[in-house]
Symmetry: C2
């Protein structure tokens, strides 16, 4: 059985949610990180949890002043780490706590390499398809499956209204790419974009409560030609828009030239930068090339500027990268960006499997998470092909929760492996219901089991349909243990341990 | 369009199949490795392709004698490498070419770290479910999706007949675990097993044409207690059977003591050993433990013994291993087993996702393949829960072809990335049909695209449903290129390259 429990902090309004998996017998319950929020009526939105905590200072300014904010304490309880670690990592710029003052509905969370690896889910309407209700439903669905943040990438009509509905109903930080809406305002013509239109769009979104924004300020005029001979050119929408603008105007990217003004706006709302990698590779062939790394150097420069303004920063990364080139990305990002959290899209480890890019990219995502990436942007089976529906959102989330958790284990994150161990013990003990409840997706695990052995007794059977009763290795393992293996083995070792050994194999 | 083509070797009966993907316009066709076989009528079976090539010598003996057999030449054409490399790798024991003289229907293939990473699919009836026809259908289905070998793990009634149908219809090498059938012969009671019963079972299967057999000869009596305190004990069926036998008899594993007799039988049919890892870890908690590595040392010893008999050997590996412990497995196996091919089951990088273990394990499989594992045993979504049906077989195969190909790219296997590049070029050029045809699963890629943009014109549209026409980054990339970006950039560089740069961002 699963139930939601809350752990209270130092004040009664700090109540941190967990999913508690109650196990059978005297097995202790297992607590899992919970992103599903308190549940909302879309018409009214969520309660403004964080309203009483606001001080007018950014989280970074507070951390630098040595203050542990209620948000930091909340995060510490959530992650099972000391609050001082949370504060110190934020102060050093190695972690961000995205929390727009105008999104008090969000439950605090942290993104940084010392914490659990996070997963972002992209949703959003497009000119071709989707409605506001559908997007709010996808938001709720994504957080149910563990999305730590959600990006609203809407590009069609009703961008403002869609975003309003999403922010008001989101228990997780919301990210956007303001450039998309700015472009809508100029009827989709990049050449009519101006700093003023962009700035006003940022302020409009800031007022609504967007917690982090992707800003493609690293696409410099001189870098654009570096992408000319690529197999897949520029694949970032924001990147291509800014590249087109730079070339047509033959001027420097206005996001770069006005970056300090952006910092001032971001500071006012405590919005976190997500510095966009507009020149990320869109194919294995283009990975780790000159264009990509030139932009990364500029993102490093911008990271340090944002920090001058007490504005939090994370840095976006690729994309499409073969396994042997993944680590270089993290190492270079850490070096150039002073340890600011890395936030990558996959990367896909091969280009050959459209319709399965949640898998091609889960491979790269798990690895890059292990190497130190703080947040993974999910990829759904529809990547490169169409807009994800609900089932695609779920498939992407599951693949990425797997990748993130595998990374947590490999990093030795305290407590991460307890979940695996609890599930494996349930498996070994033939506690089928416990195994299902501990699974990332209990329903599907249960339904797969029932497909071959549907009868209720099979749920307590000491075997499964894979081997049947006679061949079950775990059943035999138990019999070995029960038969006094340990006694026998002690006797065996006492007798010298080599009575029968080594026996040279003979014909 | 896809079509099957054949490349002829030095003699007319060496005809190596490829899938040729014919692209639109003047784009050159792409040739893909093809495991689907010539197609068979289950009632009659496949033609005995390799019958005329047989010499009575094993492939290893031939290679050691400096001979390039027709099988080796076939493999060289198939892999696009010199035949001398094939011969030399086999001679050194670093590659195997599993080809029982009684399975002349198989198309030669090679397993070794210098060649393309291979994928094995497990099928087979159990006491609880499945029929012979169904298993032959799964075999054909698995090879259609790229299975390089298939293991028949049947455990229920009609084991002999099921295997006969599978071998006669299989264009790929067939592996088995003879212990399962031997155990059936003694009504499932491990304690009634004898060397004689086992030997006769091996000969029965050898006569039928099984190409490689898993032999759990490394589960020594003294190792069994090492697994006593594990979270998941012994999870290999063969391993647990032999452990039970060893403990009950308090004698050494008869597969170990009679190993040289097995070598003589294997040599007679040119059967390849797949040395089973009966003590592989069944959970993250048990990875890389004393029991696992003790057994691996014994498998190394047995590898060298098999080589004395001119018998080919591969060595099985785990299982469940967190990412940071994967490489140690390969390095130790290479060292202890003299470079004999490693053949691993996954490994799963986390235990928390039953119903998605094709994904948890594709992560580990891709990495271990990159590190040098020669063949990956697939895991289906039904792992730990039930027997795979056709859809599960496909899901497992796709996940593992992704993992294997990602590993080929990371290893820098010659030609591997061409497939990715061809697909990415098709993507960048909006050649939708070419992109679908080049996809690992063309039908699914096409259907996902059609879900949002079903109209035929959308197949030639220079955008897709993800961004719509106005925001398509690749469309903008093309426009940039067309607008003379290169001319502009040259002009820019000629003008000093820094006319506008560096512009310090200002407020």
């Amino acid at each position: 059985m699963r139930r939601k429990v809350y752990v209270e902090g130092s004040r009664p309004d700090i109540r941190v949610p967990f999913t508690e998996v109650v196990l059978t017998g005297d097995n202790p319950p297992v607590r899992l990180y919970d992103t599903s929020g308190p549940g909302s009526e879309p018409a009214t939105g969520l309660p403004p949890l964080r309203k009483p905590w606001q001080t007018g200072r950014t989280q970074l300014a507070s951390a630098r002043a040595g203050i542990i904010t209620p948000e930091m304490e909340y995060v510490a309880v959530r992650e099972g780490v000391p609050a001082t670690l949370v504060r110190d990592e934020i102060a050093a710029g190695r972690a961000v706590l995205p929390a727009n003052v105008n999104h008090p509905e969000s439950e605090p969370m942290i993104i940084g390499s010392r914490f659990l690896v996070k997963v972002n889910a992209n949703i959003g309407t497009s000119a071709v398809t989707s409605s506001i209700d559908e997007e709010v439903e996808k938001l709720t669905w994504a957080t149910r499956w563990g999305a730590d943040t959600v990006m609203d990438l809407s590009t069609g009509p009703h961008i403002h209204e869609t975003r309003e509905a999403i922010v008001r109903n989101s228990p997780v930080p919301i990210g956007t790419v303001p450039l998309y809406q700015a472009l809508e305002k100029v009827k989709g013509d990049p050449l009519r974009l101006t700093w003023e239109i962009f700035r006003d769009t940022v302020i409009e979104q800031a007022e609504q409560g967007v917690d982090y924004m992707t800003i493609h300020a690293g696409v410099l005029l001189e870098y654009v030609p570096m992408a000319a001979e690529r197999v897949t050119g520029i694949v970032s929408r924001g990147g291509s828009i800014m590249a087109a603008w730079c070339l047509a105007e033959h001027r420097e990217n206005f996001l770069y030239t006005h970056f300090r003004e952006l910092c001032e706006i971001f500071r006012e709302y405590d919005i976190t930068f997500s510095l966009g990698d507009g020149l990320r590779p869109g194919s294995i062939a283009d990975a780790n090339d000159e264009a990509q790394f030139a932009e990364l150097r500029t993102l490093g420069e911008l990271t340090h500027i944002a920090w001058e303004y007490d504005v939090q920063v994370m840095v976006e990364g690729p994309g499409h990268v073969p396994m042997h080139k993944i680590k270089e990305n993290v190492d270079l990002q850490v070096e150039l960006c002073g340890g600011a959290p890395f936030y990558t899209l996959g990367p896909l480890a091969t280009d050959i499997a459209p319709a399965y890019d949640h898998i091609t990219s889960a491979i790269g995502a798990a690895m890059i998470g292990w190497f130190g990436t703080a947040m993974l942007c999910y990829v759904t089976p529809k990547e490169h092909l169409g807009l994800p529906n609900k089932e695609d959102v779920k498939a992407g989330m599951i693949a990425y929760k797997i990748a993130a958790h595998a990374a947590d284990i490999a990093k030795g994150h305290p407590g991460a492996q307890e979940w695996d161990d609890a599930l494996s013990r349930a498996r070994f003990d033939f506690r089928w219901e416990d195994q299902f409840e501990l699974a990332l997706d209990p329903e599907t695990a249960r339904s797969y089991h029932d497909e071959t052995l549907p009868a209720a007794p099979a749920k307590t059977a000491h075997f499964c349909s894979m081997c049947g009763p006679k061949f079950c290795s775990m059943k035999i393992s138990h019999e070995i243990r029960a038969a006094g293996m340990k006694a026998k083995s002690t006797e065996f070792v006492d007798a010298g341990g080599r009575v029968y050994l080594p026996v040279t194999p003979t014909a």
